[in-house]
């Protein structure tokens, strides 16, 4: 945030270092159900980000003292592979990963009908294979799809992106360079159909007006991502249907 910028983040045409317009998302690809062991899984590529998510559950919760009698517990483990970043990361959990595991869990839990699965655990495992800005929001986007793939009833998908501020201008979906040298970063997750925001963080500096405008931009972008999520799930259902038909 406070470092000297090595480059201009917006060029004279208002385009970003990767050629995007301010309100343009990076290329996005979601693949559902690629893991065999997990009850649900998803793989997301957002720009250079590559993240895999597995969901297990609802399943027996242990150790016993974590069991909650009238609902499921949701657990989340966000981890970055050592080779996912520029400088090799130590394989253990950093404080950043511990915080993000918590906020991602809190962003997803509102979408889950946890009261339907008392005394069980729903485990969400996120492994970032390559990181380039926006891993927490891409993880949320992928994880809600994996939850759906696991057959867990959801109030809505959860869809996430980030608003950033570069060269004094609001942009959507910061990449790694923009995240590092920009003036602000505001990740947002929401249940798009319900209009409920489930995650909001920010650092950097935003005026009150920028905050309002940024939120609106994010909500627009989230609608686009939501479509990609739903299409990925549809492809998966067709795939499964075929398998079922073929096996008959």
């Amino acid at each position: 945030m406070n470092l000297k910028k090595p480059v201009k983040l917006l060029d004279e045409n208002g385009l970003r270092t990767d050629g995007r317009r301010p309100d343009e998302l990076r290329p996005l690809k979601i693949q559902v159900g690629l893991l065999k062991n997990a009850d649900g899984s998803a793989y997301i590529e957002l720009g250079k980000n590559k993240i895999i998510v597995a969901v297990y559950g609802p399943r027996e919760a242990h150790p016993r003292h974590v069991v909650i009698p009238d609902r499921a517990i949701v657990r989340c483990r966000y981890h970055m592979a050592p080779f996912s970043v520029d400088e090799r990361k130590s394989p253990g959990f950093s404080r950043r990963e511990i915080e993000l595991s918590k906020v991602i869990r809190e962003a997803l839990e509102p979408a889950i009908f946890i009261e339907e699965f008392p005394r069980t655990a729903i485990d969400i495992f996120i492994e970032v294979l390559e990181a380039d800005g926006g891993t927490r929001t891409a993880s949320i986007t992928a994880a809600s799809v994996a939850l759906a793939d696991a057959g867990i009833p959801l109030k809505d998908l959860v869809t996430a992106t980030a608003i950033g501020k570069i060269e004094g201008k609001l942009v959507i979906d910061l990449n790694g360079l923009e995240d590092q040298y920009g003036e602000g970063d505001m990740p947002i997750a929401m249940m798009p159909s319900l209009g409920q925001i489930t995650l909001l963080q920010a650092d950097g500096r935003f005026s009150g007006e920028e905050f309002e405008e940024g939120l609106k931009m994010a909500i627009n972008a989230i609608k686009k991502i939501y479509r990609v999520q739903k299409e990925a799930l549809k492809r998966r259902y067709i795939e499964i249907s075929k398998e079922v038909l073929e096996s008959e």
Partner: protein, 271 residues
């Protein structure tokens, strides 16, 4: 605070809180945008470079600052170091368990750290002695002493107050050698952030939730506000949700309330 929701709050008390709120009233007679009583004591800890004990209603928290010379991080050779560490020790509440810091401690540390850092309250680029070799490291250690709700705002108040009143020995560099002088100087201060936490209970937004209110709240959101009404940090917490409208309202409340809260801070470079 993962376990907080499990703690028993009597059904009657819960009902009372909710039905009062429907009338825009709170169980302790506060207005929806009122903070509890705030008491800030600075300079108590002689061995710390700065310190502050904050009482915010039934919540008590202490921050101590230690400053020492250290090697800068390799990727920021021309900046000092700021490290924030918060611990929710079991002394402060039966809901805090012994053991190494958990995710609540880590979140608290990181939220306070980012809020201070975005505002640049400590001008880290002025804390360099020999670039790439020796810089000042500022350790901000936060300990909960009595937990009565709204830890983030109390911890931030204590940390900002401690930073504003910190003194340390000036060092000079002569021929590439660092010499510590006897002169006591304050930290170089940038903009001063104020943290305002708002809880959502039903469809109401209230400022500075007490512990009982936290037990019934759906979600919380913290805004960090600078002197010019800019937002220099946000952290939403708890598995509840906000609508767009609620967020705009919360932001406006936070900016409004931040001005009153700011009056409690000690003057810059005071003792």
């Amino acid at each position: 605070m993962n376990d907080k929701s499990e703690l028993i709050i009597s059904k009657i008390k819960k009902e009372t809180i909710l039905s009062l709120l429907r009338k825009n009233e709170r169980i302790d007679n506060r207005g929806l945008e009122d903070y509890r009583k705030i008491q800030i004591t600075t300079g108590l800890i002689g061995k710390a470079n700065g310190s502050a004990i904050v009482k915010l209603g039934d919540t008590t928290v202490i921050t101590g600052i230690k400053i020492q010379i250290d090697r800068p991080f390799p990727d920021t050779p021309d900046r000092g170091i700021q490290i924030v560490n918060a611990e929710l020790i079991p002394l402060a509440s039966p809901i805090f368990e012994p053991g190494p810091p958990g995710e609540d401690d880590v979140e608290l540390s990181r939220v306070v750290d980012r809020g201070l850092r975005s505002a640049e309250i400590i001008k880290l680029d002025e804390l360099v002695l020999i670039p790439g070799e020796k810089v000042w490291a500022v350790f901000v250690d936060i300990y909960a002493l009595d937990y009565g709700g709204n830890m983030i705002d109390a911890a931030a108040l204590a940390s900002v107050s401690a930073i504003l009143t910190t003194k340390y020995n000036k060092a000079i560099v002569e021929n590439g050698e660092v010499k510590i002088t006897d002169e006591q100087i304050p930290l170089p201060i940038g903009s001063i952030p104020v943290f305002v936490t708002i809880a959502k209970i039903g469809d109401k937004l209230i400022v500075d939730p007490s512990y009982e209110e936290e037990l019934v709240m759906d979600a919380r959101i913290t805004f960090v506000i600078d002197e010019n009404d800019n937002i220099t940090g946000i952290q939403k917490g708890n598995p509840g949700t906000f609508t767009y409208g609620e967020l705009i309202e919360a932001k406006n409340i936070a900016i409004r309330v931040s001005k009153k809260l700011r009056e409690h801070l000690p003057p810059v470079h005071s003792e």
